[in-house]
């Protein structure tokens, strides 16, 4: 059997079939890069008029997880920069700082992420700066911890964490959470916060995430399934200000995961991909909600191929209902709607049936007295257990801010 010809150029044999269409290598690269460039349109090289002050190219932070998708984005951005430099005599519309949050204290990988970052730095130093941030830096940053602390500090029990230097995300946070899905959620939240901090320190206005369309679709359903539906819109939309004036961008939003993987393999970037040594669980009970949804989409894509794009497009049409809310979740730091706990209590009664009891529901007035506000998702994730997000102790705060 002879290989099919590429449907676009009709000249070369195809090497990959994507969305039922055979592509040769160069057409495939062009096709995917076109999708990335469409999203990066605001970052063209601009020539200001003589009277206006000179402008600096936008400084963007690339969240580099060293998975296929983020590496594919890195390669595309580097190629984009090379193109711009060639066409505009060395000028570029943006510069990139690639930041990898090193989770090796928590998960083991087939390669040391720090070594991979060094290799990348050596190879592409003229186009991009690379940086590694350890996950444990989260607990050593007073200000970062402060963002999670509820405004009314006096009423909370402060963390029982050990000394500043010996704190670790694994032992001080993740090991205290029973629920696997919640563990993953909080790890995600910590990584996100470290990235925002890095973006601020590098004066970046935007963080570029390498999430593919497939990943975004999984996020939509997983947020929905975790009761975090209110955050769907703000989590996957472009140009949403996530925190501290930093906005997010998903340049890979029109590229499927399989396409990103094929692209990475084509560009010889597979050597930089790191994979956790522990395989995702196959037993249903051991899975997290995210694991389950990855499997669901893998299974259903064969029968209903357009489902991924449908889900992402649907989520794009949702409004951010929390935008006007003043409440901020004390755990994950997202804006939340009021009184999720009351809603939950109404429909999940946990009062016993007692003889001679009053059958009218009794209003509990002490509900919002001394508890921090939690969004519904975090309320469920912690399942009203004794888990407390580590906070800076009162002494630490005094030491830092008292004059």
């Amino acid at each position: 059997m002879t290989a099919q010809l590429c449907k676009r150029c009709s000249a070369t044999e195809s090497v990959v079939v994507s969305r039922k269409e055979p592509f040769c290598r160069s057409c495939f690269e062009r096709y995917l890069r076109g999708k990335e460039r469409k999203q990066m349109t605001p970052y063209k090289v601009t020539y200001p008029s003589r009277t206006s002050p000179p402008t600096q190219p936008a400084r963007l932070l690339l969240a580099l997880s060293l998975g296929s998708s983020s590496l594919a984005l890195l390669e595309m951005l580097l190629e984009h920069l090379r193109d711009q430099m060639e066409t505009h005599r060395g000028a570029t519309g943006f510069t990139i700082v690639a930041v990898h949050v090193d989770c090796s204290p928590i998960l083991s990988y087939n390669r040391d992420p720090k070594a991979v970052i060094q290799e990348l730095q050596k190879e592409f130093s003229e186009l991009c700066t690379f940086e590694t941030v350890s996950i444990d830096e989260f607990l050593q940053d007073q200000e970062l911890l402060g963002t999670f602390t509820h405004l009314d500090l006096e009423t909370y029990s402060f963390s029982q964490c050990g000394e500043l230097a010996s704190r670790s995300v694994k032992s001080d946070i993740l090991d205290k959470i029973r629920d696997r899905t919640a563990k993953q959620d909080f790890l995600f939240s910590i990584i996100h916060n470290l990235l925002v901090r890095s973006a601020r320190s590098h004066n970046s206005s935007h963080i570029l995430f390498g999430d593919s369309m497939s990943r975004l679709a999984e996020r939509v359903l997983s947020l929905t399934s975790k009761g975090r539906g209110a955050a769907v819109s703000s989590s996957i939309a472009d140009n949403i200000i996530c925190k501290n004036g930093i906005a997010q961008l998903y340049p890979m939003r029109e590229i499927m995961r399989a396409e990103a993987e094929a692209y990475v393999a084509m560009q010889d970037f597979s050597q930089y991909v790191i994979t956790p040594t522990q395989r995702p669980p196959t037993i249903l009970r051991m899975m997290t909600i995210d694991d389950l949804l990855v499997n669901y989409f893998t299974d259903i894509e064969a029968g209903f191929p357009s489902i991924v794009s449908t889900v992402v497009r649907t989520a794009d049409k949702l409004k951010d209902t929390t935008a006007e809310s003043n409440s901020v979740c004390a755990l994950c730091g997202v804006k939340c709607l009021a009184e999720p706990e009351r809603w939950l209590k109404e429909i999940t009664v946990s009062k016993p049936a007692l003889e001679g009891e009053s059958l009218e529901p009794t209003e509990t007035s002490a509900q919002h007295s001394d508890k921090p506000i939690l969004c519904y998702g975090c309320l469920v994730a912690t399942n009203s257990s004794s888990f407390t997000w580590p906070r800076s102790s009162k002494d630490e705060i005094l030491r830092q801010y008292e004059l």
Binding site: A230, L284, Y296, T314, L318, P340, P352
Partner: protein
Amino acid sequence: MPSAPLFSLCELCSARKPFLRRPKTGQKICQFCFFHVFETEIHNTIVAASLFYPGERVAIGASGGKDSTVLAHVMKTLNERYNYGVEFILLSVDEGIRGYRDDSLETVKRNKDQYSLPLEIVSYHDLYDGWSMDNIVAQIGKKNNCTYCGVFRRQALDRGAQKLGINHVLTGHNADDMAETVLMNILRGDTARLDRCTEIITQSAESPIKRSKPLKYAYEKEIVLYAHYKKLDYFSTECTYSPEAFRGTARALIKNLETVRTSAIIDIIHSGETFSLQRHGGRNHAKKLVAGACERCGYISSNKLCKACVLLDGLNAGKAAMQIKLEDSEPAESTGETFVRKQLESLSF
């Protein structure tokens, strides 16, 4: 696995022996507490949404299945316990599906006596020119027949309610159904329904009758347990005309999510309740439907003909075409098996 302590007691009352593990929370509780929390949650839902007013006459859509049987039982119980002052009537639709609806209607008839509630049955056969679901499936096949049944049932319930002079129908949709609808609307991209699908009361320009779902937060598993331990008389066969495959995948996903995290079903409903579309009052507003009446049957409709009449036209046209075809065709031997055999015999290899 940790072994259970020998002296375990109900996690809620700490007085009686635990009887079951509650599907919604995983708590080990006694039967008494289970009935109490299950009923109280439904009561809270009713109060929070102000579903009823005293003196209201309300129809309970009764199919004889577990959901509607539990609904009828709980409504009767709560009505007496909390003095809602509501008059309930059972309302059933006979779709005309042999081996399914005829048996389940027998259950409803028994429920009528058990709960001493009046019963009204409306049938597709009487309402739609003699078209029962069995006849429809015989004509259009097993695919897409849910479309017909859905449109017809909605109208049949409305007509039944109107006949009784009632403006409010309760349906037995449970939490699993709600969660499934939320996921289905996302997966299908049905944005028109996405932000309204979790509302407890649905009222539309296309229906004169208000519908509500008091069981929207009740887990399907708890409904089964409640019906079982209360020894309720219900019919448990699934419809013989199977639903579409895609809905099946959403249903399987919900069950898996529930296994991973028991609260997943209400979590999805909570998410669904927070969804809101970006363009409200914009383009959608311009297309707002104007309620009129169907030219043929007089049922409320925004078009000349109501949906049911359009579907009926299609069915009747198909029936006529089939009859003409039969009359025009050659004598019996050239059709069917004989015809195929003759064709095969004439082939040479």
